[in-house]
């Protein structure tokens, strides 16, 4: 297995793919330069995409929407679910800031009519509106909406839509390959002794061991992205 030929250029492509999709523009440029990799990706667009992502992660949804509208004005007109999620995030930010009245007005003016046109989104709207019923929202059963991970989720959805609009894959290939590796090793663990990668940081094939806890290591490494 250790003798299986793996081309350096393929590995470089995988890394480049990760850097581009995840928005590491400077690293991508440097890596492209150093590895001599020719790429067919608009590196300039990465920065715009990352600024948008940063705006969402910072809770500045209005700024993010304006940037998206400059970059691709069709995107939010043709993807009502994405538009709803951005507006929903804005509503969450208003609630987080304690602007209940403004939040209510915004929900009535913007989100409710949008929900009427797309009834499949109403359930999420109802859930978000329920936040207003709690004095201390952090203690509510819906506190997860206020968590940073929710901003991250919205940012990821927007990033994926921007990537797709530019014919780019929505997700990098590397994490998916690592997940595949973990799953494959898990399957093999039940059936055979084989040289195993126990540590994905050094990716060394280790001889079969009598007992191993490596599958767990790999799995935890793979979940870091989310």
């Amino acid at each position: 297995m250790s003798e299986a030929p793996i081309a350096k250029s393929d590995l470089n492509q995988l890394i480049m793919n990760y850097l581009i999709i995840e928005g590491y523009k400077d690293a991508a440029e440097k890596f492209s330069e150093e590895s001599g990799l020719t790429h067919n990706v608009d590196l300039g667009s990465i920065e715009e995409r990352m600024q948008i992502r940063f705006a969402v992660q910072s809770g500045d949804i209005r700024a993010a929407i304006e940037r998206v509208n400059d970059l691709n004005p069709d995107l939010l007109d043709t993807d009502p679910r994405l538009y709803f999620h951005l507006q929903q995030q804005h509503l969450i930010e208003l609630i987080r800031q304690g602007k209940a009245e403004e939040a209510l007005e915004f929900a009535q003016e913007e989100l409710a009519p949008h929900g009427e046109e797309h009834p499949e989104l109403l359930r999420e709207l109802e859930k978000t509106m329920a936040l207003l019923a709690f004095d201390v929202v952090g203690d509510s059963p819906l506190a997860d909406l206020l968590d940073f991970s929710h901003r991250q989720k919205t940012a990821n959805e927007l990033n994926a839509a921007l990537l797709a609009a530019h014919s780019q894959p929505k997700e990098p290939k590397l994490p998916a390959l690592l997940q595949l590796l973990a799953w494959t090793q898990e399957q093999l663990d039940e059936k055979a002794n084989y040289p195993r990668i126990n540590n994905i940081v050094n990716a060394v094939l280790e001889p079969p061991a009598t007992e191993t806890a490596a599958a767990g290591d790999s799995a935890s490494a793979n979940t870091q992205r989310t």
């Binding site: 304006e66 004005p73 069709d74 939010l76 538009y83 009519p113 949008h114 009834p119 530019h166």
Partner: protein, 686 residues
């Protein structure tokens, strides 16, 4: 409700002499309306169109202002067809076209393409773009030509411009003449290579445009299939894309393959289509990343009038999957948080696609019935949406084409009562499909015939003969025609009385629509088929003179073939049952001439019918010393010469028959009938 005030002020600000104020107002409006249908409506009410249109029409408007104004047009057009029409009426089209001319600022060009793409998203606006097609096509093709060879094709803006240009080209292809305009301008050679560039969005756009360009156009399909790219023909490229990892590409590739397949232009790839495209579409039915509606529609289109493709669909599990989809729509119907309109569209498409798949093969129908199809059809006939009712009726029509299913499952399905309600529905589409389905439930082998008679189907059908819709009248006549086969004398009499012989004879007149006349002639044929009850009724109603005139009219050379065939068998039925009535036919020279003329028809069905008439006329014999003449029983009991030999010989029938016997090109059924006729004649002296 929010105040209109700030928004009205932004609109007002568009007239400011200060370009910065105008720019800022446009930008604010743009960001307010993108994604928001409510805000779009609000700005329509504030009459934004004339302001934006005026800014675009002025020669000296700044590029940045143009970009913002054009983006507003684009966003407003996304609101719907009425909004797009209002924008076109506001005169934005000419400005937008001028903004995609070569040399325009790249960002403005992209914004203008987006606006054109959005404006042309609706049937009405696509159709109304006729006058602009000739000016648009060269610009769009120049964008594709310039960008596709560029090393910077991956640059986001370049990529967007080429994708949009390709999409707009496709949206222009809504008529055959426009398909040719686009193809003749060189689109085929430009588009096919784009399929292999490896950019999914561009591939999807190109596939959509190839689909629009080739839809129902045999010439373009053949031209597309003949263009090799890198040594490969388009069907091979499409079949490869039907296996692409991106589900949308798979779907669009299958749609293009369907177009080529339907026009028989897939270059011998029929087997590959069955083994690659059909299973690909079947798999897409279960894929959450593509619209199930389009997949179902694509399957229906691919399988239309293609029995082998229908079998391939059945083998790929499509029937069970579509029924499952219908079941899901049924369970979601009326539920909260469901897009009800979309749900209805999916159900309707499901019934239509199933109807197509079961239209030809017994195996497919059996599979559908095994998957409880009939129960879904019965429930769909009571759905609140008329489109679903009509689709269910259409599907029923095809399912009950099967004699075994009609004899077994259908009788227990409870389908008759809802169907009888729908034949009197106030929607033409529902009435037409319901009556078409009823036709197949009334033949003699159907257990539902008796039940239908109990439900007063005859009265219902008589009522439908007054319908203003031709196809409803035609289907009602067809139902009556089927009811008359192998029915007891009492019921036949009742049907004849209720329908009225005079009425049927009147609508078999040449002035009637051909489809009505055909069925009226079929009814008369069946009325007279089994005994002389019907013949007596016709002669009693019309008298001998009008009857033979009507028969002559049915055999007129101008009459269409199906009606002629019914007319010939009607003549035969009258002639064979009674010598007395045959006399009227044999002595009417024009009628006899019409029959003899059709003996040599190149259409074998017509020739056989005419030969049966000759046979029946010749079968009546002269009395001999041993026997007595009889008015009944055509060929029975007489030993003499054929009674109407002279009349037939005046028209040279024997010579015609002898001549036909020597014609090796005639089909066997015609030759057999010729031989039977010649049995009445002594051989001609050589």
């Amino acid at each position: 409700m929010a105040s209109l005030q700030p928004h009205a002020e932004y609109v007002q600000q568009l007239q400011s002499p200060n370009p910065v104020d105008v720019y800022m107002a446009l930008r604010t409006i743009k960001n307010a309306i993108i994604g928001s249908s409510t805000k779009k409506s609000l700005y329509f009410r504030l009459h934004i169109i004339p302001h934006v249109s005026a800014l675009l029409a002025m020669d000296d408007t700044d590029v940045q202002i143009r970009i913002q104004a054009t983006t507003i047009v684009s966003s407003l057009a996304h609101k719907g067809e009425d909004a797009a029409k209002e924008l076109l009426e506001g005169g934005v089209m000419v400005s937008l076209i001028s903004q995609i001319m070569p040399g325009t600022d790249a960002l403005l060009m992209e914004a203008s393409e987006r606006a054109l793409n959005a404006l042309l998203s609706y049937t009405g606006t696509k159709m109304s773009a006729e006058e602009h097609t000739y000016s648009l096509v060269p610009y769009l093709l120049s964008i594709v030509t310039k960008a596709k060879d560029s090393a910077q094709i991956f640059e986001m803006r370049t990529h967007a411009r080429i994708e949009l240009a390709v999409l707009i080209l496709g949206k222009l292809c809504v008529t055959e003449s426009r398909q040719f305009t686009v193809a003749n301008a060189g689109a085929i050679e430009l588009l096919v290579p784009l399929l292999l560039r490896g950019y999914p969005r561009l591939q999807i756009a190109t596939l959509r445009t190839i689909s629009a360009l080739s839809y129902e156009n045999m010439e373009i399909c053949r031209a597309l299939a003949a263009v090799p790219h890198d040594g490969r023909a388009l069907p091979a490229i499409l079949l490869e894309l039907a296996q692409h990892q991106d589900p949308e590409i798979r779907l669009q590739a299958c749609v293009c393959i369907s177009n080529l397949s339907r026009m028989r232009a897939s270059g011998g790839a029929a087997r590959d289509i069955q083994s690659i495209a059909v299973p690909a579409l079947a798999k897409l039915l279960r894929c959450p990343d593509v619209g199930v509606l389009q997949v179902v529609q694509a399957l229906g289109y691919l399988c239309h009038e293609d029995a082998e493709m229908q079998i391939a669909a059945k083998n790929a599990g499509v029937i069970a999957d579509i029924i499952h989809i219908i079941a899901e729509t049924e369970s979601r119907d009326g539920a909260d948080f469901v897009d009800s309109e979309h749900n209805i569209q999916v159900a309707k498409a499901g019934f239509l696609a199933l109807g197509t798949i079961v239209s030809a093969g017994e195996e497919c129908r059996t599979k559908a019935v095994e998957n409880q199809m009939l129960a879904y059809l019965v429930r769909a006939m009571d759905h609140r949406d008329d489109g679903i009712k009509a689709a269910a009726c259409l599907c029923t029509q095809y399912i009950v084409r099967s004699v075994p299913i009609c004899r077994t499952h259908v009788s227990e399905s409870g389908i008759l009562k809802p169907l009888l309600r729908l034949v009197r529905h106030d929607t033409p589409e529902v009435q037409m499909t319901a009556t078409a389905a009823l036709i197949n439930l009334l033949p003699d082998f159907s257990p539902l015939r008796a039940e239908a008679l109990k439900e007063n189907v005859v009265d219902i059908l008589v009522e439908l003969l007054d319908s203003k819709i031709t196809m409803v009248r035609r289907n009602a006549l067809w139902c009556i025609r089927n009811l008359l086969v192998n029915i007891d004398d009492g019921t036949r009499r009742t049907i004849i009385d209720k329908v009225g012989i005079g009425r049927i004879c009147a609508i078999s007149h040449p002035d009637s629509e051909p489809v009505i006349r055909e069925q009226a002639a079929g009814v008369l044929q069946n009325i007279t088929a089994e005994n002389d009850q019907g013949t007596l009724a016709i002669f009693d109603c019309l008298g001998a003179g009008q009857t033979v005139d009507m028969l002559t009219g049915l055999l007129d050379p101008q009459t269409d073939t199906p009606t002629q065939v019914h007319g010939l068998y009607l003549v035969n039925n009258i002639a064979v049952r009674s010598q007395a009535y045959c006399e009227y036919i044999a002595k009417h020279r024009a009628l006899l001439q019409a029959i003899v003329a059709l003996v040599t028809s190149p259409i074998s069905e017509v020739a056989v019918g005419a030969l049966w008439c000759v046979n029946s006329i010749a079968s009546h014999k002269m009395p001999t010393a041993r026997g007595s003449n009889s008015n009944s029983g055509g060929s029975g009991g007489e030993d003499g010469e054929p009674r109407y030999l002279a009349e037939l010989e005046e028209l040279g029938v024997q010579a015609i028959l002898e001549g036909m016997l020597g014609d090796a090109s005639l089909c066997l059924s015609v030759r057999d009938r010729v031989k039977s006729c010649l049995d009445y004649y002594a051989p001609l002296a050589i």
